[in-house]
Structure formats: C-alpha cells, structure tokens
C-alpha cells in the first residue's frame, strides 16, 4: 500500500514541515487567494495581483521532496541519498554557483526568466520602456521648476524613512532599499534593492508592489484627511503655454538621457529604457510604439507579477526583518503622500490660492507595473 503522503507530496511536505513553516505556507496560500480576489474586485491592481496571488498560492502548495541531484543544486552542498529536502519546481532564487544555476535552468520552469530577466533588472527596464512610450514630457518641459518641486516634496517618505530604518536596526544599504518604497516607483525599488541589498530584495520588492497597489485605495482618504473640501474644490485654470513640438520633446529626451547617464551611470539602464520609450513616441515610430506599449510592457508586467508571487515561498521570506520592512514600507509611502500634499500647499500659498493642493500628490510617481 503506497504511503499517501508520499503520493501527494504537497500534503506530505506540509505534514513533514516545521510548525512555523507549515503556518507560513498555509498563510501565504490564503494570502495568495485573497490577492487574486482583491485584484478581481479592483481594490488592488489586477494586472499584478492576479498573477502574483496565484503564483504565491501555487508555490506554497506545490512543495515536494527533491531528488538528490536537484537537492544538491538547490542547497549548493552535498546531500545524502535518502535525505528529505523540500523544494519546488518553480525556481531557486538563492542559488549562486554557475554550475548549479545551469542545472536548475533545465529543471525549474521559471529559473531562466528569473536569472536572465529578473535578477539583472531587465524586466524593470522593459517596464520603463513601456512607461516611456506612455509618457508625455510636455508638462515637465513647460513647467520644469513646478514639476521638480512637487516631485521633490513627494520624496519626503524616502528621505525620512532612511534614518528611521537605520534606527530599526537595518544596515545603510538595506535602509536605503526600503526607503526607496517612498519613491512609489516599482521598477526603481526592484533595481535599487538588487543593487544595494540583494539579500532582502524579495521581501522589499513584494512589500513595495503590494503597497503600491494599495495606494490607489488609500491616498484618497489621506487627501480627505489633510485637504479641506473647499480647497479640494478649487478649479485650476490652465495657464497658456507655448505648444511644444515633437521635435523639441525628442531632442529633450536625447539630451536629458545623455546628461543623466553622465551624472549617474549606475542608473543608466533605467534612464536609457525610459528615454528610448519617449524617443520612440516622439519620433512617431508607430510599430515600435505599439510593441513597447503592448507586448513588452504587459509581458514584463505579467512576468513580474508571476515571479514576485512565486518568490513568496515560505522558506525564502520567513525572516523577522520582513515585519520591519512591512512597517517601514507603509511609513515611506504615507510620508511621501504627505510630502506631496505639503508641496501642493506651498504652491497654493505661492500662487495666491489659485493652485489646488491635491495636485501635489501627483508628485508621488506610483508606477506599480
């Protein structure tokens, strides 16, 4: 009579687990289902939450006992023949050695995408290309100081969260990575945490994307709490500005990309990705525009959501630091929203009451996909 727990290894591995891991796996399965539900209802961003939620549920349910060769590749050490090493056939994000990676790319179906597109920031760059195509730089060119002021004000969360995170016991690199959640820019958080705090990039990125999806629901309450109705109702008249031609926007994209890459080469991949999208749009390259704003952007978003969900495997994210990251992430976004509104209020007073302070929150970039 075959052992049923050996036949149904997902259940067998649950029974065989440490109680903490058992609870974590069941909790994450439930959380994954809830995320799918909330995504479908529109409470959270469905483009990310549906693949992410399903990935989270599947990876925590689909744990099996690995064969000795796969177990040795995943753990990166010698494993006894009868050892019961648990793992999944999705991917192994913590594997470093090339030989083990090459083996796992033939076994784990998401490993090639993770290794060649996620952990090197390529997916983040694809998303930025799509965003560049959707972006109209006209307003920034027409009102550069106003735009820059609001964007700076909305970085209050990033600046203020950094010392608080260090006070919480994180290293400066880890603190900077979690503080980046205040920028409300998903690809930027991914890129920064991969560069500065690779050991925590999974929980930081998952926290960032979860919260960025929540800001759509949460920020209106913040606005209602901090801006009285009378000010919220201010109708702004758009001041006449000289029209900005496509040629001007194209030249701006080229010059800005080059200058910013010169100043900050560490972020050059993201600058290039964003401005190549802008350049494609302003040059009128319709085929490339459709490619970048369609398959590239949505393909990258889909794979990002799926990979983030699959990364939320109980063993990978069960770390006491995750609780600190949860608190710091929400603090960073909250303070950024407050900072944006403060910036809006400054412009309100400087313009003699003609500027609607609510516009300040638009300084929070909030790009979950």
């Amino acid at each position: 009579m075959p052992n049923l727990l050996d036949l149904f290894q997902g259940v067998g591995s649950l029974v065989d687990s440490d109680p903490k891991i058992l609870c974590a796996r069941l909790g994450l399965i439930l959380l994954g289902v809830v995320l799918v539900f909330l995504g479908k209802r529109g409470v959270l961003e469905p483009l990310l939450m549906i693949p992410m939620g399903l990935g989270m549920a599947a990876v925590n349910a689909g744990v099996l006992f690995l064969d000795p060769q796969t177990a040795a590749a995943v753990t990166e050490q010698a494993v006894a023949k009868n050892a019961q090493v648990q793992g999944t056939l999705f991917m192994a994000p913590l594997v470093q050695q090339t030989e083990n990676l090459m083996y796992l790319m033939q076994v784990d179906f998401l490993q090639p995408i993770y290794t060649f597109a996620f952990s090197n920031g390529l997916i983040a760059c694809f998303v930025f290309m799509g965003i560049g195509v959707l972006l109209d730089v006209g307003y920034v060119m027409a009102r550069p100081f106003e735009s820059m002021f609001l964007a700076l004000a909305a970085e209050l969360g990033t600046i203020a969260t950094f010392p608080i995170a260090v006070w919480f016991g994180l290293t400066t690199n880890q603190a900077a990575s979690i503080a980046m959640v205040g920028s409300a820019d998903g690809p930027m958080v991914l890129f920064t945490s991969l560069t500065l705090a690779k050991e925590y990039f999974v929980p930081i990125t998952v926290v960032a994307y979860l919260y960025l999806g929540l800001t759509y629901g949460g920020y209106p309450y913040l606005i209602r709490a901090l801006v009285p109705k009378k000010l919220r109702m201010i109708r702004m008249k758009s001041a006449p500005t000289a029209p900005i031609s496509s040629n001007a926007k194209l030249i701006f994209a080229v010059v800005a990309c080059t200058v910013l890459c010169l100043l900050f080469p560490v972020a050059a991949p993201l600058f290039l990705s964003l401005f190549v999208g802008v350049a494609v749009r302003e040059a009128g390259l319709k085929e490339f525009e459709n490619l970048l704003s369609g398959p590239v952007l949505y393909g990258a978003t889909f794979l990002l959501g799926l990979l983030l969900g699959v990364l939320c495997e109980a063993n990978t994210i069960l770390d006491p630091v995750v609780l600190k990251l949860l608190v710091l992430g929400i603090l960073a976004l909250l303070l950024s929203g407050v900072g944006g509104l403060i910036g809006g209020y400054c412009l309100y007073f400087l313009s003699g009451g003609r500027y609607n302070p609510v516009v300040g929150i638009a300084g929070v970039s909030c790009v979950p996909p």
Partner: protein
C-alpha cells in the same frame, strides 16, 4: 545622528541637482524653441 545628517545631506544634494536639472530643461526647451523659430523665419 549620522544617518539623519546623511539623509539631510542627500536631500540637499538631491534638491540642488533637481533644480539644476529643471534649469537645464528650461534652457534646453528655450534653445529648441529659438532654433525652431529661426528655422520657420528662414523658411
């Protein structure tokens, strides 16, 4: 205290760079508009 100073220093530097970039954007925009105006006047 050091981290607060670091944060304030980064913020000040960021502010200066941001406004410098805004100034650069303004200059680029004006230069492009001037060049376009000259091109349309010539034609």
């Amino acid at each position: 205290m050091n981290t607060v100073k670091t944060a304030l220093l980064v913020f000040s530097l960021g502010t200066a760079i941001s406004f410098a970039v805004a100034g650069l954007i303004m200059v680029i925009g004006r230069a492009i508009r001037f060049a376009e105006q000259r091109a349309s006047d010539k034609s």
